[in-house]
């Protein structure tokens, strides 16, 4: 599913209704099979380091690419405050990957390389599996 630039500029409630139909099918996939999950750390340290901007970049990119099967959530401080903003990616059947420090540009790379193409962005990977 692709979403046009025009659709991305939506703001009114009528346009929200239109988004519903297009997202429904992909959401069914997400809810049944548990698609990829991206978790952004939003403690005081994360927020101060730019986690909100990373979140906005992630949502814009996912919406633009029509990746509705991805679940986005947040967590508190993970205890690695000097590596913030931290982002964890969970893909079904693969070990989790923790990235940091993540900027909006790095976030977009993670979407393209990791979520779309299945390649871990080694440069920013600080832990895999349950170590983090």
């Amino acid at each position: 599913m692709r979403i046009s630039k025009e659709e991305l500029r939506v703001k009114t409630r009528e346009e929200l209704q239109a988004l519903r139909e297009s997202a429904k099918a992909a959401l069914a996939v997400r809810d049944q099979s548990g698609g990829p999950r991206v978790v952004i750390a939003m403690g005081t340290c994360g927020i101060g380091a730019g986690a909100r901007e990373v979140m906005s970049a992630l949502l814009e990119d996912l919406a633009g690419r029509g990746l509705a099967e991805v679940t986005v959530s947040q967590t508190g401080c993970m205890g690695l405050c000097d590596r913030e903003p931290l982002v964890q990616v969970f893909c079904p059947g693969q070990p989790s990957v923790t990235y940091g420090p993540v900027t909006p540009a790095v976030m977009r790379r993670i979407v393209a390389d990791h979520l779309v193409n299945g390649q871990v962005v080694q440069e920013y990977c600080i832990a895999t599996g349950s170590e983090a």
Binding site: I3, L8, R9, V10, K11, R13, E15, L16, Q17, L19, R20, S22, A23, K24, A26, L27, I40, M42, G43, T44, I47, G48, R52, E53, M55, S56, L58, L59, E60, L62, A63, G66, L67, A68, V70, T71, V72, S73, Q74, G76, C77, M78, G79, C81
Partner: protein, 182 residues
């Protein structure tokens, strides 16, 4: 924190960590009185008197991942720097409300910044938290209510990335429309 909205996000994150299922953020701009009122109200687990007393101590935190808790002390310092104040009221098992007042025109007041980014971030948790935002400025009132959005969307969750992205743009536009000077 470079923006007032980042402080608000931080306060709201405390509410989520406290297990809130209702979260209301309200901003009231009173240009005639040169004031900006901020309130973040939740129905989380609340704090007893002793914890409440320590909540603004930077060397106190309820978390276990590190020993400092800077969110509330930083927010209070910002308010006081801007000829304002902050107060917390809390009742165990009922919830916590943080209210703050700052001088709108104060040179040290950080700009409000991107409330759209804050609300789309918080709305990620809309499946478990009913989120409400009310922003009053000289040109009117903007309101967002995730339960209303959920009703409009019927069976599809508001936490779909496309909808979260929409929420950000919707709030940014709404805040502009009411002529926010914050």
């Amino acid at each position: 924190m470079r923006e007032l909205s980042l402080h608000i996000l931080d306060l709201a994150r405390n509410s989520l960590e406290a297990g809130a299922t209702q979260l209301t953020i309200s901003l009231t701009e009173q240009p005639e009185k040169d004031l900006l009122l901020v309130a973040v109200k939740d129905n989380g687990r609340g704090m007893d008197e002793e914890t409440l007393h320590r909540a603004t101590d930077p060397f106190y935190t309820s978390r276990t991942t590190r020993r400092q808790g800077l969110g509330l002390p930083l927010f209070r310092a910002m308010c006081e720097r801007c000829e304002g104040s902050m107060e917390i009221t809390s009742t165990p098992a009922q919830g916590t409300t943080v209210r703050a007042t700052v001088r709108l025109s104060h040179l040290d007041r950080p700009p409000l910044g991107d409330m759209g980014g804050v609300l789309q971030t918080l709305a990620c948790e809309a499946d478990r938290v009913h989120l409400r935002y009310r922003h009053e400025a000289a040109g009117g009132v903007f309101e967002l209510d995730t339960e209303d959005l959920q009703r409009e969307r019927n069976e599809a969750s508001v936490t779909a990335p496309t909808v979260l992205h929409w929420i950000g743009e919707h709030v940014r536009g709404g805040v502009r429309e009411i002529g926010s000077k914050a």
